[in-house]
């Protein structure tokens, strides 16, 4: 089943309207979300991939890992994010992580395309982020 963007946002992003998103370590991940959305040059394209990724996972046991909080937390860990990182540093870490995902077989198929887990999570986060959030 393919969910519309509106359905997805309702389904996964309840409470997203609040300004701050906290990770399980109590960190405020809002700057990371903003920065990752800001990195998306073509947000619509990334959102479409993210929606497909989330839709493919709908109903699966790990669906909880697809909330924006969980995605941000996971990306914060994988990208070794800290609040003082520059945009350039974050972009560099993202690219390196995507490359290492492919090297380590950490991949996922989205509508038949073999993508890195990190880029798929990045796309999902962008899809879930409220409009107007990008820098």
């Amino acid at each position: 089943m393919t969910l519309s963007r509106r359905q997805l946002l309702t389904h996964f992003a309840t409470g997203i309207g609040v300004l701050a998103v906290s990770g399980c370590r109590g960190r405020d991940l809002t700057p990371l979300i903003d920065a990752l959305v800001d990195l998306a040059i073509t947000r619509d394209s990334l959102s479409a991939i993210g929606e497909a990724y989330l839709s493919d996972r709908e109903g699966l046991p790990e669906q909880g890992a697809s909330s924006i909080e969980a995605l941000a937390e996971r990306l914060a860990i994988d990208l070794d994010w800290s609040v003082d990182q520059t945009r350039h540093e974050l972009s560099d870490r993202l690219v390196r992580r995507i490359r290492s995902d492919f090297r380590d077989s950490k991949t996922v198929r989205v509508r038949g395309w073999l993508l890195s887990e990190t880029e798929a999570r990045w796309a999902a986060l962008v899809a879930l982020a409220p409009a107007g959030r990008e820098g």
Binding site: L39, A40, I41, T42, D44, S45, L46, A48, I49, A52, L94, V95, I98, R99, D101, F102, R103, S105, T107, R109, V110, R111, G112, W113, L114, L115, S116, E119, A123
Partner: protein, 489 residues
């Protein structure tokens, strides 16, 4: 001068003589004849078909084939995948030429019965001679600009002769022959062996409508294709009940064919110009060459893969995968190289080397053809390793492309790939070469182990088939056999 004679014009019971009798005027038989052209000896080829293929000759190909998931019931695999006529099946092949080489010739511990027992450099010399016959000899284009995904996949070239007809390509080599004759409509029906001497003394041949003939020669070469040569050896069982050369029950075993499958779509933003050689590039010698990928030897060893070759093809816009524009944008966002324009989209087709397995075999069925010969019963059913290699190699390519950040691969059906795979009609290995008579049918000179004046030419003698079109290797082996026959005489 090459002479074509319609065997139907000869008298019933005619006894013909030659120094060499070759069964089959396909690419292997004609190349062998070309190799013998300057020997001054009389060469007689028996060709089942005519100058062109005919329905009545093609009907002789009928038989039973069990090809499990690769074979849709009712598809006439045995009829459609080979051509009876001057030039043989090569008249219908796409003429991309590339010889088996590298790791595909090695004895690989993870592939039982693999390994060619002949010297690689010797084979390479004959490959070059075969390339000269086809007008495709010379250096390959430089491959430095082509992506190899951190050397996980290597570039390999296939060459396209300028002239499409194989027979036309071979004509210059045959034109200078003093005494080469092709008898068309002449179907070899029995190899007759002298029980005391153990040598072939004649070959019987029949026309569908017309006389029966016999040919006596000093040496005999079966070049009728991997299926037909095995069939003739098995059916010649009057003196030796198991058939000729079949003392160890090897004739007809190890049958194989390459497996082809379109695995998905490749997307490389900004690399359109660089990828052109994967479709065609002119060479300094005038022929066209086309780049392909194949997994590096290192990758094949690490993952214990069967060999494979990957071909790129033009993508029909109507079949563009979902999310193509979006994934292209994503790939551009993370790309480290490439132009801003000129995205490259292509289908990816993988040709997998089949696994040698003695259970896959040609035997004689109970039905008989109009000439009274038993029809073929072909068993080729276990493709698990080939299917696994298809999936694994597809995944490895997708990971390598992604790792390079140059693009992404669309693999819509990776778990169900075997369902979309098809045999290519490149039959081989039924009379395979071996040092030990218990493991094969012919020795290193392509001589049947137990019959001193009977030889086999063509892909039937290959120990393994590899993943490239077998024509060039079959031609190289035929030239090698010609040299041996000349030396022996």
């Amino acid at each position: 001068m090459l002479q074509l004679t319609d065997a139907r014009t000869l008298a019933h019971g005619d006894r013909l003589e030659a120094d060499y009798c070759i069964v089959g005027a396909g690419v292997a038989g004609l190349t062998l004849a070309a190799g013998l052209a300057s020997s001054g000896r009389r060469v007689l080829l028996l060709e089942s078909g005519a100058r062109e293929s005919s329905a009545s000759a093609q009907a002789l190909n009928r038989g039973r084939a069990h090809l499990s998931s690769l074979y849709r019931a009712g598809e006439p695999y045995l009829e459609k995948s080979r051509v009876r006529g001057f030039g043989g099946t090569a008249t219908e092949w796409r003429h991309e030429c590339g010889a088996i080489d590298g790791i595909e010739l090695e004895a690989r511990p993870w592939i039982d019965h693999s390994g060619w027992p002949i010297d690689r450099s010797e084979l390479a010399g004959y490959v070059e001679r075969a390339q000269n016959l086809l007008g495709v000899a010379g250096d390959e284009p430089a491959a430095t600009e082509l992506p190899d995904w951190d050397e996980a996949f290597e570039i390999t070239w296939l060459r396209n002769p300028q002239e499409e007809s194989v027979t036309a390509l071979l004509e210059p080599a045959l034109a200078g022959a003093s005494d080469i004759e092709v008898l068309t409509h002449a179907n070899a029906t029995e190899i007759v062996v002298d029980p005391a001497a153990g040598r072939v003394i004649r070959i019987r041949a029949r026309c569908l409508e017309g006389p029966e003939l016999t040919v006596s020669a000093g040496s005999y070469v079966l070049a009728a294709g991997a299926l037909e040569s095995a069939r003739l050896m098995l059916a010649s069982n009057r003196v030796r009940p198991l058939g000729i050369g079949n003392e160890h029950d090897r004739v007809g075993r190890y049958f194989m064919d390459q497996i082809e499958c379109q695995i998905g779509t490749l997307l490389l933003p900004g690399l359109a110009a660089r990828m052109r050689p994967f479709h065609s590039v002119p060479t300094a010698r005038g022929f066209e060459a086309r780049a392909h990928w194949r997994p590096s030897a290192k990758l094949q060893r690490r993952h214990e893969l069967l060999a494979s070759t990957l071909r790129l093809g033009r993508l029909d816009e109507a079949t563009e995968p979902p999310l193509t524009a979006e994934v292209e944008s994503l790939a551009r966002e993370t790309a480290t190289a490439g132009e801003r324009v000129g995205s490259y989209h292509a289908t990816v087709t993988l040709v997998v080397e089949p696994r040698p397995d003695p259970r896959n075999r040609v035997t004689l069925g109970e039905d008989r053809d109009p000439l009274g010969m038993p029809r073929i019963d072909l068993e080729w059913t276990d493709h698990e390793y080939e299917a696994w290699t298809l999936r694994a190699t597809s995944h490895l390519l997708a990971e390598a492309v992604g790792r390079s950040l140059a693009g992404r691969l669309y693999l819509p059906r990776i778990r169900r790939l075997p369902r979309y795979a098809r045999p290519r009609g490149c039959h081989a290995c039924t009379t395979r070469m071996s040092r030990d008579p218990e493991h094969g049918v012919v020795d290193l000179d392509c001589r049947v182990h137990s019959v001193p004046n009977l030889f086999v030419a063509g892909s039937g003698v290959f120990p393994t088939l590899g993943s490239r079109p077998p024509m060039l290797t079959a031609m190289a082996m035929a030239l090698r056999l010609a040299d041996h026959l000349v030396r022996e005489s």
